[in-house]
C-alpha cells in the first residue's frame, strides 16, 4: 500500500449555529449544542497542528462561521500558522468594519452563498430574507483585495433560475462561481424528494453551465459540483477517504468528511484527546477506508478506483446499508437499482398533475 499522503486542507466546522434554515443543508440533523463548541485556544492549537502536518488551507465553515464572536482571533491564528484562510459563509452577521478587521487579520478568501437569484427564491429555500444583505456583502468584498467566490446550490426548484444566477454572478464579479448540485446528507437527505432535479433539468443545467464557462473564460472561473445520482461513476468524495482533507467538528471530533459520523461502528477520535498527526496517520477511523484493501468487487479490480476511490462511504451506508460496497450511484454497483427507483420517483413527482409537494423540512438551530 502506498504511503499515506499528508492532508492538504483543514475544514474547520466551527459551529452548527446558523441564521439561515436552508432546506439543502448537509449538516447533521443532530446539531452540535453551543456549549460543546471548542474554544478559541483549542482551535488555535489545531490550526497550528494542521499546518505542521502540511495543510495549506483552512476553510472556516459551519453552520455559520460568522456566528463565532472569536472568528477574528481564529483568522489571526490561521495566518500565524501560515494557512490560507477561507470563509465559507451566508454573509451574516457582517458589516464593513467586521469585514475590514477580518481582512486585516489575514482572511484570504470569502465564499458567499446565494440560495436563489432573487429575494423570493432566497426566502423559499433559506427560510430568511437575507438576499439584500448578501448583495451588500458582495459589493464590500469586491472593494477589498481578497478572493471572492459565489456559491449557488442548485436543485429541482431553483434550476429554472440558472440563467438569472449566471447574470447575477456577472454583476457581482467574483473570481470564481460554483454551481453545486445538492449532496444528500443531513437535512438535504430529508428533503431529497423535492430537491432532486429531473434528468431533463440536469442535462439542461449542464448545457447552460458549460456555455457560461466558455463565455466567461478568463473573467470568472466557473466550477460545478455534479449531481452524482445521475452519474455513471461516483464522485471522488473528498478526494478519497483520508487523502487530502481533515475535518474537525464543532466539538473537536476529527472526521474525514462532514457526514462520516452517520457510519455505524466507527469511533472518531477527538482532537482534545489526541494529536492531529496521530489521528490522521494512525487512527482506526482514518485508516479504515484508505487504499484498496477494504474494497470488494467491483471496486477492488476496477480501473476507475484510482479516480473515484469507490465513491462515498456515507452514501453506500445511507442508500444501501453496505459500507464496503461501491457507492450505489455507480453504474457497476449491485445497489444501483435503488438509485434508479429514487430517480423514477422524481420523474413521477415532477409531473404537473401531481398534488402539492410535501412541506420542506427547514433546518433548525441547535437547542
Amino acid at each position: 500500500m502506498t504511503e499515506t499522503p499528508n492532508p492538504l486542507a483543514l475544514v474547520a466546522e466551527l459551529t452548527h449555529r446558523c441564521p439561515l434554515h436552508c432546506v439543502y443543508c448537509s449538516n447533521p440533523l443532530n446539531l452540535a449544542k453551543r456549549e460543546s463548541e471548542l474554544d478559541t485556544t483549542a482551535w488555535a492549537r489545531l490550526l497550528r497542528e494542521a499546518a505542521a502536518l502540511g495543510a495549506l488551507q483552512v476553510d472556516f465553515t459551519g453552520g455559520e462561521p460568522l456566528a463565532r464572536p472569536d472568528l477574528l482571533d481564529l483568522v489571526g491564528a490561521a495566518r500565524e500558522a501560515g494557512l490560507y484562510a477561507s470563509l465559507i459563509t451566508s454573509g451574516l452577521p457582517l458589516d464593513e468594519k467586521r469585514l475590514d478587521d477580518l481582512v486585516a487579520a489575514g482572511l484570504d478568501h470569502l465564499q458567499l452563498s446565494f440560495q436563489g437569484a432573487t429575494t423570493q427564491s432566497g426566502q423559499a429555500f433559506s427560510g430568511t430574507t437575507t438576499h439584500a444583505q448578501k448583495l451588500s456583502v458582495a459589493r464590500w468584498v469586491r472593494q477589498r483585495r481578497i478572493g471572492f467566490t459565489l456559491n449557488f446550490v442548485i436543485h429541482r426548484e431553483n434550476l429554472n433560475e440558472l440563467p438569472e444566477m449566471i447574470r447575477l454572478a456577472e454583476d457581482l464579479q467574483p473570481q470564481r462561481v460554483e454551481f453545486a448540485h445538492v449532496q444528500y446528507y443531513g437535512w438535504a437527505l430529508q428533503n431529497r424528494a423535492r430537491l432532486l432535479p429531473t434528468r431533463d433539468q440536469l442535462e439542461e443545467s449542464l448545457r447552460t453551465i458549460d456555455e457560461a464557462k466558455e463565455r466567461l473564460r478568463g473573467r470568472i472561473r466557473v466550477e460545478y459540483v455534479v449531481a452524482d445520482y445521475y452519474g455513471r461513476f461516483p464522485k471522488a468524495c473528498m478526494g478519497g477517504w483520508g487523502r487530502k482533507v481533515l475535518l474537525i467538528k464543532p466539538n473537536g471530533d476529527v472526521l474525514p468528511c462532514h457526514a462520516a459520523d452517520v457510519l455505524p461502528g466507527m469511533k472518531f477520535e477527538n482532537a482534545a484527546e489526541s494529536s492531529l498527526r496521530k489521528i490522521w496517520y494512525e487512527s482506526d477511523a482514518f485508516q479504515k477506508y484508505r487504499g484498496d484493501e477494504w474494497m470488494r468487487e467491483p471496486c477492488r479490480t476496477c480501473d476507475h478506483r484510482a479516480q473515484d476511490f469507490g465513491g462515498c462511504r456515507c452514501q453506500a451506508f445511507l442508500l444501501a446499508n453496505d459500507l464496503t460496497d461501491a457507492d450505489p450511484v455507480c453504474s457497476l454497483s449491485r445497489h444501483r437499482p435503488l438509485v434508479d427507483e429514487i430517480l423514477a420517483a422524481v420523474t413521477a413527482a415532477s409531473q404537473p398533475s401531481r398534488s402539492a409537494p410535501a412541506d420542506w423540512l427547514y433546518r433548525q438551530n441547535p437547542k
Binding site: L8, G54, L56, Q57, G82, Y84, S86, D108, H109, Q111, R144, R145, I146, G147, F148, T149, Q175, R176, R217, G218, R219, I220, R221, E223
Partner: protein, 93 residues
Amino acid sequence: MSSPDPESKPRLTPGCRLNDKSQPSRMLLMPERALRLNGPSLEIVERCDGQHSVREIIADLQKKYSKADPQKVESDILDYLARLHEQRALDFG
C-alpha cells in the same frame, strides 16, 4: 486566448498568493486550489507582481535559462501565463 500585450504587467488576483517561504514546498494558493511551483514556474509567478512586463519576464528567464532555446522559453512562459489567467490566478494590468 490571444497573446497578452508584451508591455502588460501581470499581477496575481486578489486572494491568490504564494505560501510562506519557510514551508517545504513553494505553492501558489487560491480559492480551493493549490499549484506546486518549482524552478521556472516559481520564477514566473514571483515576477507577477504588477511591476514586471511580460516582455521583461521573458527576457529575465531567457537570460537565466541561457542554455534553453529562447523561443521555447518564450512560448512556455506565454502558455503558463495564459493558464494562470484562465484559472483567474492573475490579470494582465
